[in-house]
């Protein structure tokens, strides 16, 4: 269990962020320390070189002033004063024969480097080199220089102090960087966790929701950072999902009710015909009734599907350039006879061409649904006015105004809901889906439908759609 959690942890973003943070921290600290180390070692070496130069100059001036024997004495004294383990002095001729030296028992492995002598003979004044003394486990800094006319001075100084210093520095460096690394990892982990805590809340909410709590929302910190923006987007997505799920639920309830009725009727008609009246006429009536009910059922199913697909945007619209004025004129011509049947005056105010981009079949359905409603809910001798205008430069509006029964203020907010039927309209035919379909179509085209109504006086429906250039 613990091992599994640890393995899971390895896959977390926080773990990876911490790892990166620690790695970058380690590399940058390492580089800084390394540069520091280089600077210190070069400083120490420069100091040793300066010591050696001072010594060489001193010996050189002794030679000039007091001669070779004085140099020999001075060399021995100098090495004794500094410590024979610390420095050595050797004088020899360019062919390598040693003329004099300090006590060399500690420096037996230190020989004379031919390359250095050659360099001196070529004219280089001072030649430095660093040799390792394997028996004493230290490095020796050596200076070669010519003194007098033909005498080579070899000065050596043990780099013990600087070696110890560097060793101590290295130890400290390792300890410090280890502590800092642990510290950095802890800080990195803390920072990553803090930064990702919002994501954790988001994940918890999502898990909670998959458990069925669709009402949950991620709490916002309101500081406008990326996590907050993500949470806002997530919440908006949840709002949409909740609306859709509520729609599906409402739809299921309605389907259960509205689809069961025609099926019940079909079954009832068939059963009664079979069991009571086996005449040819009643069978013909049964067949006709079953076709009518089936058509009603299919119409209901198809309309519901069209609404759902249109709202969800899953069905591709067959978009083309349409003259809205022409389409409304066609619709009015089509419904003219229905209006005349009720002695309704169908007036149209259609001006110049108004173009929109849309799916012809869909727009036809939207306009005819509203026009059909206007005629259906307007009593005999009433009026239905239809007009197409461009109220704004980027808009085309179709207004359908009737002197019908009107809609109460209680019903008005709900009329676009699926299957919603106002009290007076219940007795009339229709699926209760016409308006929701019309609105879904308008919205799918980037438009909207507004309604104003007074009970008993009439209603005005206004479709607005984005205008297209002529």
């Amino acid at each position: 269990m613990y091992l599994k959690r640890l393995t899971d942890l390895r896959h977390t973003l926080a773990f990876r962020l911490t790892l990166w943070y620690a790695l970058i921290f380690m590399i940058s600290t390492g580089v800084a320390f390394f540069l520091f180390y280089l600077q210190i070692t070069s400083f120490l070496r420069a100091q040793t070189d300066q010591d050696l130069l001072n010594q060489a100059r001193k010996i050189s001036s002794v030679l000039t002033l007091q001669g070779v024997s004085a140099v020999e004495r001075s060399a021995i004294l100098e090495s004794q004063a500094a410590g024979e383990k610390k420095i050595f002095i050797r004088l020899f001729s360019p062919n390598g024969s040693v003329f004099s030296s300090s006590n060399m028992s500690y420096w037996q492995n230190i020989g004379i480097e031919k390359e250095a002598i050659e360099e001196l003979l070529q004219g280089t004044r001072y030649v430095f080199s660093t040799l390792a003394s394997p028996d004493r486990k230290l490095k020796v800094r050596i200076l070669y220089t010519l003194i007098g006319r033909s005498l080579v001075l070899q000065l050596g100084e043990a780099m013990e102090t600087s070696g110890q210093f560097i060793e101590a520095f290295r130890k400290n460096f390792i300890i410090t960087i280890s502590v800092l690394l642990i510290f950095a990892a802890a800080i990195g982990w803390f920072m990553a966790r803090k930064a990702l805590s919002g994501v954790e809340v988001l994940t918890r909410t999502a898990r909670h929701i998959s458990g069925g709590a669709l009402g949950s929302r991620v709490p916002l910190t309101r500081n406008g950072d990326e996590i907050d923006q993500l949470a806002t987007t997530f919440n908006q997505m949840l709002d949409r999902i909740e609306t859709l799920v509520a729609g599906v639920k409402e739809m299921s309830d309605n389907i259960a009710h509205d689809l069961k009725s025609p099926v019940t009727r079909i079954r009832g008609i068939a059963e009664v015909t079979l069991t009571t009246d086996p005449s040819l006429t009643s069978y013909e009536n049964m067949a006709a009734s079953i076709i009518e009910e089936s058509d009603r059922l299919l119409d209901l199913i198809n309309t519901m599907l069209v609404i759902s697909k249109t709202e969800a945007g899953v069905d591709r619209l067959n978009i083309e350039k349409l003259d809205m004025t022409e389409m409304v004129k066609d619709a009015c011509n089509l419904f003219q006879s229905s209006a005349e049947d009720k002695d309704i005056e169908l007036t149209r105010r259609l001006s110049e061409k108004q173009f929109v981009r849309g799916d012809k079949r869909m727009i036809q359905r939207m306009v005819s649904n509203l026009l059909d409603n206007a005629i259906r809910y307007t009593p005999d001798q009433g009026t239905v006015q239809v007009s197409v205008q461009s109220p704004r430069q980027d808009q085309v509006s179709v207004m359908i105004k009737d002197t019908g029964i009107g809609i109460s203020s209680e019903d008005l907010p709900h009329i676009f809901r699926r299957f919603y039927r106002c009290e007076p309209s219940r007795s009339l035919t229709g699926t209760g889906l016409g308006l929701s379909l019309a609105l879904a179509i308008a919205k799918a085209h980037g438009g909207n439908i507004d309604v104003g109504s007074t009970l008993g006086k009439g209603s005005t429906f206004t479709i607005t759609l984005p205008k297209d250039s002529p």
């Binding site: 006709a288 011509n333 006879s337 229905s338 359905r365 699926t431 889906l433």
Partner: protein, 225 residues
Amino acid sequence: MRILLIEDDAKIASFVTKGLKAAGFAVDGAADGETGLHLALTEPYDAAIIDIMLPRRDGLSLIEEMRRENIKTPVIILSAKGSVDDRVKGLQTGGDDYLTKPFSFSELLARVQALIRRNSGASEPTRLSAGGVSMNLITRDVIRSGKRIELQPLEFALLAYLMRNAGRVVSKTMIMEHVWDYHFDPQTNVVESRIYRLREKIDKDYSQKLIHTVRGVGYVFKEAD
């Protein structure tokens, strides 16, 4: 006229076959794609009705294979899918017409006849006459028993459609879509209203009624039996 029907739903195949035979067609049926393809490649047909969802080989690949083999038989595709994309795909594959399930049989019959007519290269008539009514489609004159009848454009188109399909039942949806190129929920009474007006002008003064309602299905233009 021979029709090939490739449909795996036995009940649908049964009523379509029955209806087509009643309309005077000879019908060969296949219940799966492979059998259907074999028939399509070996027998001559005037039209084929092919369902998309078929066992052993789907309808679209069947039509593709037919077209590859240069079989030019006109095809009506039957499908439960009715989106624009599905329709376009079906027609691009080589189908000539596309009908969404559930369909009305009279719609299917009208489409089969229209396809055969189109495929036979018969030119559109300029004159229609049936039941003592004659229509001149060029001058737009309508005459019954020597008497001129004035019709509005929408009524003229409706009568022409009914007369072209004389003896066959046409549904409200068919009238809406084929006559007026209009699509909406057939809950409105627009078609009934127009039919009523047309009857007023065509049948009112005559004992022999020509425009009949077939309850639940639609309308038919014929002389009474």
